[in-house]
């Protein structure tokens, strides 16, 4: 992974010192609340319902075991002994003291971590597919480009006070596991007819109260021009994006107002002026960035033997077989598999892990996966490089620590925002809804029979739980001071991205598990063999679901 050199260390230390000074000035009354707000946000610090919340950056979701152990230590020393993995592949602490934040940042800096630009109206943490480097459908590993984007966007002097937050995601595989069309900029790595690497560029995607799927404004951008093209897009946005209404300030509104063709024309005109400048990714620069992501030293294994062993183990152990089926992912190197550690056992807020679990993750990474872990945008953790022969051992260890729930990709592997339990913006709680659904659908055979199914829950229209792009999306709404839940169907985060449609009137929290049950009944009754929920929905439409759910009891 990328390692800091002396300049990175110095810059991050300078940032910590700067924020320490700002915090002191704020506490001394020299910096107003209004002035401190964007400064603390750009250092990851929110003021939440119950306490401050600190969002720590995990560049493109990648951490090493030393960093994970430091997080465990920080949650114990400064917080309540647990942390939360977010849909932007970051980590959040829910209970730090404002006064301690500079010290937390200093401790993070020692292990090459920070909280720079994890919030605020600036370019946020770049995200990507959690299986980069190992997925069989990967064209090119996005990590070197993600790192170059990270460096380009960190402390960008021109773009620290944009009209609104700005999110970039990169995908290097055929299957989009990074939801790039739901981002302000989505970068798809492609090859042209001549075999040259380049990028297809999507802009103007995003969720929130005006959900929009991003549109492609360029089919092939040569590799060398990535940063100048990003700069051109953000520059056009910085100059023309609306600033009079924060709900209309995202780039998606600008793209919509100008029309994608006119927006693209302006970007191209801007880019023409800067494309041959210093930001060009020369072959030397790309080679330099790639050096940080070398292929690990894989063992040459007897794949047939490893496969046979796995089949034996799975055949004689149902629980292991289930876990193997749902929580592991094929690897491009024979004899290896990627493993997802589920943070979604019933009764735990999705994405929450304790300090002990963090330490266990670090240990597992050291023992089984070259000391590295990935945070996924579904709020789980991935070990990418596990020898098949070690899977059984790893499974037993993961079970001991509570993250071997074999539910990855199923209904109970839901994305869920912190909701009204923590967030001051929320209209409704989301964690108890997630839990009630998990409790109702705890029969694994039934879950597996349903197949891959994305269920996403947001506690308000800001859509941190990505409800618009869940096959089933749940949105918490407030009706005269009471919490209700609206259901949407047909959202999709993949390369066939689509937004969910509202089913109809909302439901009380108590009605939610049963409502989901009825939706699943309609699916099961209508599906063709092996069809997934989203495909059945696309085939039969909203009506049959609506009829069942709102049918009057006869």
């Amino acid at each position: 992974m990328y390692r800091y050199d002396e300049q990175d260390h110095k810059l991050i230390r300078e940032r910590v010192a700067q924020f320490r000074g700002q915090t002191e000035r704020y506490l001394a009354g020299e910096l107003s609340e209004e002035e401190f707000l964007p400064l603390r946000l750009q250092n990851g610090l929110y003021v939440q319902r119950l306490a401050p919340m600190l969002r720590i950056a995990v560049p493109y979701g990648l951490m090493n075991s030393t960093q994970v152990r430091r997080l465990a230590h920080i949650t114990r020393k400064y917080d309540k002994g647990y942390a939360h993995f977010t849909t932007r592949q970051n980590v959040q602490l829910n209970w730090p003291n404002l006064e301690d934040v500079p010290d937390i940042l200093a401790e993070l800096a020692e292990v090459e971590m920070h909280a720079v630009q994890t919030s605020g109206n600036c370019i946020r943490n770049t995200t990507t597919d959690q299986f980069v480097g190992v997925a069989q459908d990967e064209l090119i590993d996005p990590r070197p480009y993600c790192e170059l984007i990270r460096q380009w966007s960190t402390f960008h002097p021109e773009f620290a006070f944009l009209p609104r937050k700005f999110k970039i995601a990169v995908c290097g595989a055929e299957h989009d596991r990074a939801a790039i069309r739901a981002h302000d900029i989505g970068v798809q790595i492609v090859k042209n007819a001549e075999g040259e690497t380049g990028f297809q560029i999507f802009v103007g995607g995003g969720l929130g109260r005006t959900p929009i799927i991003g549109v492609s404004i360029r089919d092939f951008l040569p590799e060398t021009h990535l940063l100048s093209y990003l700069e051109a897009i953000v520059r056009v946005y910085n100059q023309l994006g609306r600033r009079d209404n924060k709900f209309k300030a995202r780039i998606k509104i600008l793209v919509k107002a100008l029309g994608p063709e006119e927006f693209a024309r302006r970007v191209e005109a801007e880019w023409e002026q800067i494309k041959d400048g210093a930001d060009q990714l020369t072959p030397e620069a790309i080679a330099w960035a790639k050096r940080f992501f070398p292929e690990p030293v894989y063992k040459t294994v007897d794949a047939a033997h490893a496969g046979a062993l796995l089949r034996d183990q799975a055949g004689s152990n149902k629980a292991f077989s289930r876990w193997l089926e749902r929580n592991t992912f094929p690897h491009r190197v024979p004899g290896y598999q990627a493993v997802t550690l589920s943070t979604k056992p019933t009764g735990v807020p999705p994405g929450d892990v304790t300090d002990r679990q963090l330490e266990a993750i670090a240990d597992l990474a050291d023992h089984y996966s070259f000391g590295e872990v990935r945070v996924t945008h579904e709020q789980n953790v991935v070990l990418t490089d596990v020898e098949q022969e070690k899977l059984f051992e790893l499974w037993e260890a993961a079970r001991k620590h509570g993250f071997a729930t074999p539910n990855i990709g199923t209904l109970t592997d839901m994305i869920c925002c912190p909701g009204g339990d923590y967030c001051s913006l929320a209209n409704a709680k989301s964690i108890p809804v997630a839990e009630a659904i998990q409790r109702k659908f705890d029969d694994l055979d039934y879950l597996y029979d349903l197949g891959d199914l994305d269920l996403n829950i947001s506690g308000c229209m800001n859509a941190c739980g990505h409800h618009h792009i869940g096959h089933i999306g749940i949105l918490g709404v407030d009706k005269k001071g009471e919490e209700f839940y609206q259901v949407q169907l047909g959202g999709n985060a993949s390369e066939n991205a689509s937004l969910g449609k509202v089913l109809g009137p909302s439901f009380s929290r108590e009605e939610m598990p049963e409502t989901i049950g009825k939706l699943l009944d309609v699916f099961v009754e209508n599906r063709q063999p092996d069809e997934l929920f989203i495909d059945t929905y696309n085939r039969i439409g909203l009506e049959p679901f609506k009829e069942r759910v709102y049918a009057k009891a006869s």
């Binding site: 002097p157 910085n238 023309l240 107002a257």
Partner: protein, 185 residues
Amino acid sequence: MPKPAKKPVGAQPENPQRVLCDGAVVENQWQLLQLGGDEDVSAESLPAGNLILPLTLWLELRGTLQARKNEIGVWLDSDETADLIGDAAKELPLIAANFPAFTDGRAFTAGRLLRQRYGFTGELRAVGNFIRDQLTYLTRCGFNAFAYQGDQPMEGLLDSLQDFSDSYQAAVDQTQPIFRRRALA
């Protein structure tokens, strides 16, 4: 076209007595001119001395101001883009960019474009409601003067100029991004 952003009421820039210029506190030698809206202004009716004119007035009068070339500057409001001055920037002794609110970051882009695209070499002055904590970013975008009108001591402003010793990406002050410097190292 998107609806233009509204200007916040009462966010017009002031004329502080002292400004920060090239790292030192100096007397403000320039008067920033505000227009109420319906005055009839001509080249002859302008006061004497160094003046910073609103962009619209400068565009209107520039042909008649040749004789005072070295004492007429221009200020851009945050909804006015650098291309409205364009290559004429080369001839100007001073350009100011207004921050009606410190969260309005459009002038950062104006600064870079004036310096890097339009060849402006004069004094680039931030005016309005920017804050001390933005000085390093402003400097990186080409600003070398700050008409600070807040209530923090000027000495603190000088400290903030030293917040960072290096930078990741190319801008006005550092023309090579760090990846390029490292890849060639």
